[in-house]
Amino acid sequence: MSALAPCPSLLAIDGLSVAIQGTDLLREVSFDIAPGEVMGLVGESGSGKSLTALAIMGLLPDSSDMRGAVRLEGADLTVLPERALCEMRGRDIGMIFQEPMTALNPVHTIGAQVAETVRLHRRASRAEARAIARDRLDRVGLSHIGLDRYPHELSGGQRQRVCIALAIALRPKLLIADEPTTALDVTTQTQILDLLRDLVRDEGMALLLITHDLGVVAGMADRVAVMKSGQIVESDTTEALFRTMRHPYTRALLAASRPAARVAPSTVGAPVLEAHDVARHYGATRAVDGVSFTLHAGESLGLVGESGCGKSTLTRVLLGLEPADAGRVSLLGTPVGPEMPTAARAAQQVVFQDPYGSFNPRWRVADLVAEPFHLTGRPADAEAKVIAALEAVGLAAGDARKYPHAFSGGQRQRIAIARALITRPKVLILDEAVSALDVRVRAQVLDVLSDLQKRLGLSYVFISHDLSVVRAITDRVMVMQSGRIVEEGVTNEVFFNPQAAYTAALINAAPVIPEAWLDGHVGWSWA
């Protein structure tokens, strides 16, 4: 390698195309990464970002057909034999993945897993490898965690740090991070991003940061490439890219990721859903601890908090699926609980997060949407009502005959909304209802929700960890931490002037695109 002429780029990807079983998944992808540079690769799910990373590592599925060149310091990795690739992986290029919960082998200690990288590539004694592992774990901020711990004993953020430690154990020239923070809470995300930024600076590594989040790249990357359907549609330095936004797709992405602020409703109606000092314990754990609120007719109430804060438990108590251990919930004056009369349940419905787990795959859409009629008794015009509900969420009457697998994620969430609407409820609980969707689809579903609220006078309890979404759709917001509501207020006020330290931390942690870069592109932003 040293024999080659000095090369300006560390990694040069040139005309990379990948097809798997005849389907073209990457088409003529080309970009360079200079030493020490942070390259952001942005795109929606299925755009080919992760495949690009795997192609660089030489870890594509056996059945794939790859063309083009991937040059690391001038040497083409695509022609290297497997043995040489093994030597390269982990030593020259490190990689971390999206899902820290499953990326570590559950039966080996974290020390062993970090040390393994060292011993694979270097003649190091067991003790030396352990010493290096210790040093690397200290470096990623895990100095308080013993080497003999197992992955299942660590939190998600800690596990991701272990993944980083083993990827940087040998100070590779390039680190590939594939959605490294997507599965993490927003505060943890900031910490991990900070860590990555520091590492790049201190160790002189280049970083290929793959993400769907424009905010993340804006704060991290020196240059950004935008990917769509296996192709790079736009690539530039970060600031220039955001300032110019040459490609319409980039603009659409940006617009969708920054939904318009909500116009406060003109009138506030009577209380529909009330919670009084609700508590729910699991053994010694206080999952929900003294929560009180009132939801009025036509109002949208946000509930924000990180995973494990008690949102899901509260949702189940509000839905009357679990009893409250203390306090009470009432829906239109009726006490809510597992024993409540079925007819009373019809006034409140729910939309869940996972568009794929929300439907029995063996039922037709018509039957799925009609399922809540179980509460009211099936009316004679059930079919017409189903079709009306589908049309209300922007689907066609003909869709009633199809099975769920025929629909995309966004369409499925529309079906879920249609199902929730079929009994003409007053209250809709939206439990992370748009969190699993790509930004553009998310924007469309949010539009449907706003529209329905206006037309039907619905009240929403909108539960989410995504502040931008809560900001866009709710009138009031509650911030939940460890089972308690730490702050409550009118959404805009809470966001502009958070009172609780936790709320402030949450808001500050959300990655943002510098306002100055966006002049003239999008109307609204916060902070």
Partner: protein, 314 residues
């Protein structure tokens, strides 16, 4: 962990008690008077009655059940009706055949299955995989007694490499004993090895789909090293389950195989016990087998906690 083990042990105890009741009640319903069988066609009524009393076949059910159980606890399995010797003695004579046979079959099936399963998983979709999968399908489909017959026909009768059956006793030396158990162990092991190899292969393929395998590959581990260092231990967990279950199958399979090779083992003891209405033998030996199965299940549970650290601290 100690508490969890204690709870597990308690549920095992309950299972044992339930099993003993089931076995006892069932055997009370078996038709055929052991005393009448022992005395034959021309025996007089009073001779039969005298023998019944002598064998302890009279008295209320509960009393006899309690007598049996308390005896078992003290290591007294009762006295065989037909052999007129303590059942414990019969069992100890025969367990030296059955236990080595089961162990040989288990070891044999494991020794065959692990490399075969590994190769099939490593060569997934390849010719070796297809061949192995086809072979194991065949192995599972062959009834072991039929296979045993064919083995005897080929190796004992035609080739005369080994004897057609029987057991010379360990007094005759280690090798003659092992040799006598070789064909039966093979007949028992082959279908089990097929099952084990398939389970190992699919468990390996499952683990190979896991994210941490990708992490290992990204570290620079070769495919082979990934399988050995990262996949195998995780794949051992379902394999352990099957090994535990196989013990039960081996015990059951041994009954027929011991009959084909006329080995004086526990299985044959039970079978003879049933045909000769030596109910106390059947009762005690069945109980012993159940105990063995439950014990093995418990040991498999323990082995889990060693294989999977996630189960350790709780």
């Amino acid at each position: 962990m100690i508490r969890a083990l204690g709870r597990r042990a308690l549920s095992l105890l309950l299972a044992l008690i339930a099993a003993s009741v089931v076995i006892f009640v069932m055997l009370q319903a078996v038709p055929g008077d052991p005393a009448a069988f022992m005395l034959g066609m021309n025996a007089s009524e009073d001779a039969v009655a005298a023998l019944r009393a002598e064998l302890g076949l009279e008295g209320p059910l509960v009393v006899r059940y309690l007598a049996w159980i308390s005896g078992m606890l003290g290591g007294d399995f009762g006295t065989s009706y037909t052999y007129r010797v303590p059942v414990a003695e019969l069992v100890s004579e025969r367990i030296v055949v059955s236990a080595p046979l089961a162990v040989m079959a288990l070891v044999l099936s494991t020794v065959i299955a692990i490399p075969v399963g590994l190769i099939a998983a490593a060569r997934r979709g390849g010719v070796a995989d297809w061949g192995i999968m086809g072979g194991t399908q065949l192995g599972i489909a062959v009834p072991n007694f039929w296979f045993a017959m064919i083995l005897v026909l080929v190796f004992a009768v035609k080739l005369r490499w080994v004897s057609a059956g029987g057991f010379p006793g360990w007094d005759a030396g280690l090798w003659p004993g092992v040799r006598a158990l070789l064909l039966p162990a093979i007949a028992l092991a082959l279908p089990q090895a097929s099952i084990l190899a398939r389970v190992l292969r699919s468990a390996l393929l499952d683990t190979l789909d896991q994210d941490y395998i990708r992490t290992a590959r990204a570290k620079g581990l070769s495919r082979r090293a990934t399988v050995v260092r990262h996949a195998l231990r995780n794949a051992m967990i379902p394999v352990l389950t099957i090994l535990g279950l196989q013990f039960s199958f081996l015990l059951a399979g041994a009954i027929i195989i011991e009959n084909v090779f006329f080995l004086p083992g526990l299985g044959r003891l039970i079978f003879q016990g049933i045909t000769q209405r030596d109910l106390i033998v059947v009762q005690s030996v069945t109980m012993l087998l159940v105990f063995a199965v439950i014990l093995v299940t418990f040991l498999v549970d323990l082995a889990y906690t060693f294989a999977d650290p996630r189960l350790r601290r709780r």
